[in-house]
C-alpha cells in the first residue's frame, strides 16, 4: 500500500450502498446523451416539471430534462446562493422559489453544474406541484423562444370528480397533439402501452425499495432515497430505471438478510417531510446519525409512487389524468396529514421532522396544521426546522442544531 492510498474503515465500507456508483454512472450517461448535439442524437429536448407526465415524451423519443433535478444539483453543489443572487440582480424577488431563481439565472450564464442544461426545444409545465412553475416556464419559453405546453391540474382537496377527469383528460389529448405537431410524426399508441408498463414497474419497484426501511435496522435512510430518487424522476418509463431499481432492491434485500443497517446504531426512527436541504445533506445526515436517529421514510421521495394506484396498466393513457392530478402535493392538508400518519404507523416511527421550506409554499403551508393533526391523532413528537432547499442564506446552523438536539433530548 502506498502512503497516498486511504485506509478504508471496513465498518463504513460495509454500510456503503454499492449501487450508488451505478446510479452515478447512469445519471452521467443520461446527461451526456442530453448534452450531445442534436444533429448526432436526432432527438429533441423537452424541459419538464418534476410532476409532469413524462411518459408521452419517451414514446416520442424526446429527451426529458428536469430543471428541478438541476435545481437539486445546484443546491447540492452549493451554487444556489450565487445563482439566486444573480436572479435577484435580474429583478426576481428573493421570495421566489430558489429552484426557479437558480434555473432562470443559470440559463443566462455560462456555467452551473455540468456546464448548464441543454437548450430546450419545448417546455412541458404541469402545475400539479405548484403555481410558480407557470410563470417560471413562461419566462423560459420567452427566453428560449420555444413552445410551451401547460397541463392544468385542479387541486384535489379531498376528492377527484368526473368534471376534473374530463378537464384533465381533454388536455392529455391536446398534449399528444402538441407533441405530434412539434415532432412532425404520429404518436405511437402501442409504444405508449409499453412505456406505461415500464413506468408502473419503475414506480412499483421504487415503492418496494422505500418499504425496505420497514425493517429494523433500516438498510437505508431517506438521505439515500434523496439520492436514488433522481432515476424515478428523470427516467420514469424507461427500462434503464426498471433495471437499476431491480438491482437496488436486490441490494437492499441482501442488506436486510445480512442485518446491515445504514446507521451503526438505530435508536430512533423518524419521518421527514418536505424537500431535502440539498446543500446540507451530509451535515443533517451526520447530525441525526450522531443521535442514532434514522430517518426511515419521507413524504418527498414517496411522491413519485404515491399515486400509482390510480394508473391502469391496460389503459395507461386513459388513467394518466387521474394519476397526475392526484399526486400528494396537489391534495389538501387533510390528505397530506393522513399520509404522514399512515407513514408513521407503517414505518413505526417515533417522531416527524418537518422542513419548513421557504421556497416551497404549497408543501410548507399546511405544516403547522399537520403537526397539530399528528399530535391529536397519534400524539408523537414533531420538530419544525426552517430552511430552504437550495438557498443557503436561509439556513442557520446553530438554530437548527439546537432544535434537533433538543428534539432528540425530548424523545429520550
Amino acid at each position: 500500500m502506498t502512503l497516498t492510498e486511504k485506509i478504508k474503515d471496513p465498518e463504513k465500507e460495509k454500510r456503503k450502498i454499492k449501487s450508488d456508483k451505478k446510479m452515478r454512472d447512469l445519471m452521467t450517461a443520461y446527461y451526456i446523451e442530453a448534452k450531445t448535439p442534436k444533429e448526432q442524437t436526432g432527438k429533441k429536448i423537452a424541459w419538464i416539471t418534476s410532476g409532469g407526465p413524462v411518459e408521452p415524451l419517451q414514446v416520442m423519443d424526446i429527451i426529458p430534462v428536469y430543471p428541478e433535478n438541476y435545481g437539486a444539483m445546484i443546491g447540492a453543489s452549493k451554487m444556489g446562493v450565487e445563482l439566486c443572487e444573480k436572479a435577484e440582480q435580474m429583478g426576481y424577488s428573493s421570495d421566489l422559489c430558489s429552484y426557479a431563481r437558480a434555473d432562470i439565472a443559470c440559463a443566462t450564464v455560462n456555467g452551473g453544474p455540468i456546464g448548464g442544461l441543454p437548450e430546450p426545444d419545448m417546455l412541458i409545465c404541469c402545475n400539479n406541484i405548484c403555481g410558480t412553475v407557470l410563470k417560471w416556464y413562461e419566462v423560459q419559453a420567452r427566453y428560449y423562444k420555444v413552445p410551451l405546453f401547460i397541463l392544468d391540474t385542479p387541486i384535489c382537496h379531498t376528492e377527484y370528480n368526473p368534471d376534473m377527469k374530463r378537464y384533465v383528460t381533454t388536455q392529455i389529448q391536446e398534449y399528444i397533439d402538441f407533441l405530434e405537431k412539434i415532432c412532425g410524426k404520429r404518436f405511437d399508441y402501442d409504444r405508449m402501452t409499453e412505456v406505461g408498463k415500464l413506468s408502473i414497474q419503475g414506480q412499483r419497484l421504487w415503492q418496494e425499495i422505500l418499504d425496505t426501511t420497514m425493517n429494523r435496522p433500516a438498510p437505508m435512510t431517506c438521505f439515500d432515497a434523496f439520492f436514488h430518487l433522481a432515476m424515478i424522476v428523470t427516467l420514469r418509463g424507461t427500462k434503464t430505471a426498471v433495471d437499476f431499481y431491480e438491482s437496488l432492491l436486490a441490494e437492499m434485500k441482501e442488506r436486510i438478510a445480512q442485518g446491515i443497517g445504514m446507521l451503526p446504531q438505530e435508536k430512533y426512527r423518524l419521518v421527514w417531510d418536505n424537500l431535502p436541504v440539498w446543500y446540507r445533506l451530509r451535515w443533517l445526515s451526520n447530525k441525526f446519525a450522531s443521535h442514532s436517529a434514522c430517518l426511515v421514510a419521507d413524504t418527498y421521495t414517496s411522491g413519485w409512487c404515491s399515486s400509482m394506484q390510480y394508473l391502469d396498466e391496460n389503459d395507461f393513457l386513459g388513467s394518466l389524468a387521474e394519476m397526475y392530478t392526484r399526486i400528494f402535493l396537489n391534495t389538501g392538508t387533510d390528505i397530506m396529514a393522513d399520509n404522514i400518519v399512515k407513514m408513521v404507523e407503517k414505518y413505526e416511527a417515533d417522531g416527524v421532522v418537518f422542513h419548513s421550506n421557504r421556497s416551497c409554499k404549497p408543501y410548507s403551508l399546511g405544516q403547522y396544521d399537520i403537526q397539530r393533526i399528528i399530535q391529536e391523532k397519534i400524539g408523537i413528537p414533531t420538530l419544525m426546522i426552517e430552511a430552504d432547499m437550495s438557498d443557503e442564506r436561509n439556513f442557520s446552523e446553530s438554530q437548527i442544531e439546537t432544535r434537533i438536539d433538543a428534539f432528540i433530548e425530548m424523545l429520550k
Partner: protein
C-alpha cells in the same frame, strides 16, 4: 455531589453550582467575542464566589449556543432541556416556560417531572429577543435596565407592526420624530414582543402556571405584556437569567 452548569448564550454567559439538590450560587458575565473563554471565565468566577476548587466539582454540563465549545464540560445539553429542569427545580408546579434570551425566544411545555413535552423557537430573526431590545434602547437613548419601569408609565401603547428588528427600529425612529412619548414607544416595543411570543406559545398549547426565564425576564414591561397577551399571571424567579445554568447543573447530578 457537587455539579456545575455553564450556559453560554449569545450575549451573556451564566454559571450555577448545585450541591445535593441545593443551589450554592450562580453568576453572569458578558460573553464577548470568544464563547470558549467566556465559559472558562464564568466557571472560574462562580468557583471563587462559592469558594470551591475545580477539583471539587464532580460533573459539569454545558448548555446554550456555546455549549459545544466548552471542552471541560462532561456533556452538552440544549438550553431547552436545561430550562425545563431549572424551572421544575425552582417551582415544580410550572407547566410552561417562556424563555427569552439574547438571540432567541422559546416557548416550552413541560410535565410534572420537568421533562420537555413540546417547544417552539423563533425563526431566524432577532425580533422578539434581547438583542432586539438592545437595538431599541440604543435608538431611544435609554438604559435598557430602565425599559421595564418606563413602559409601565405609558398612557398609550404605540403600535409597532414590523416583524423585522431593522424595520422596527425605523418605525421607532419615525415615532420619535412624530413626538410620541418615549414611555409609549417602549410599551409598544414590549407589546410587539408579546405578540410574537404569543404566536409561538399558542402553537404548542401553553398551559398555566407559566414561568418566564432568560435575561429578558428582568424586564417587567415584557412580563406585563406577556401576561396581558396570554391572559395569565407569569411567574418570574429571582434566578430567571441563570435558570438554564441551574438546569444544566441539576442534569449534571444525574450523570
Amino acid at each position: 455531589m457537587i455539579t456545575a452548569g455553564i450556559d453560554v448564550g449569545s450575549i451573556s454567559a451564566k454559571a450555577a453550582i448545585i450541591k445535593d439538590n441545593e443551589l450554592l450560587g450562580a453568576c453572569v458575565i458578558l460573553t464577548g467575542y470568544n464563547s470558549r473563554n467566556a465559559g472558562r471565565q464564568v466557571f472560574d468566577q462562580i468557583l471563587l464566589e462559592v469558594n470551591l476548587d475545580a477539583s471539587q466539582i464532580d460533573k459539569i454540563i454545558a448548555t446554550g449556543y456555546g455549549r459545544n465549545s466548552i471542552e471541560f464540560a462532561d456533556k452538552a445539553v440544549t438550553e431547552i432541556t436545561c430550562h425545563a429542569a431549572g424551572a421544575n427545580f425552582l417551582n415544580p408546579e410550572i407547566r410552561s416556560i417562556i424563555d427569552i434570551g439574547g438571540q432567541d425566544s422559546k416557548a416550552i411545555v413541560i410535565n410534572e417531572k420537568g421533562k420537555v413535552q413540546d417547544f417552539s423557537m423563533n425563526d431566524k430573526c432577532a425580533a422578539g429577543t434581547g438583542r432586539f431590545l438592545e437595538v431599541m434602547a440604543r435608538a431611544l437613548e435609554v438604559d435598557l435596565d430602565a425599559f421595564g419601569e418606563l413602559s409601565l408609565q405609558a398612557d398609550n401603547v404605540a403600535s409597532i407592526s414590523s416583524l423585522c428588528t431593522v424595520f422596527a427600529e425605523s418605525e421607532v425612529i419615525s415615532l420619535i420624530a412624530k413626538g410620541e412619548k418615549r414611555e409609549n414607544i417602549i410599551a409598544g416595543i414590549h407589546a410587539s414582543i408579546g405578540s410574537r411570543v404569543m404566536a409561538m406559545g399558542k402553537r404548542i398549547g401553553i398551559t398555566s402556571p407559566v414561568m418566564m426565564t432568560g435575561g429578558v425576564a428582568k424586564n417587567i414591561g415584557v412580563v406585563k405584556a406577556l401576561e396581558e397577551k396570554f391572559n395569565t399571571p407569569i411567574i418570574v424567579s429571582a434566578h430567571a437569567q441563570v435558570n438554564g445554568a441551574i438546569g444544566a447543573a441539576l442534569i449534571a447530578s444525574t450523570l
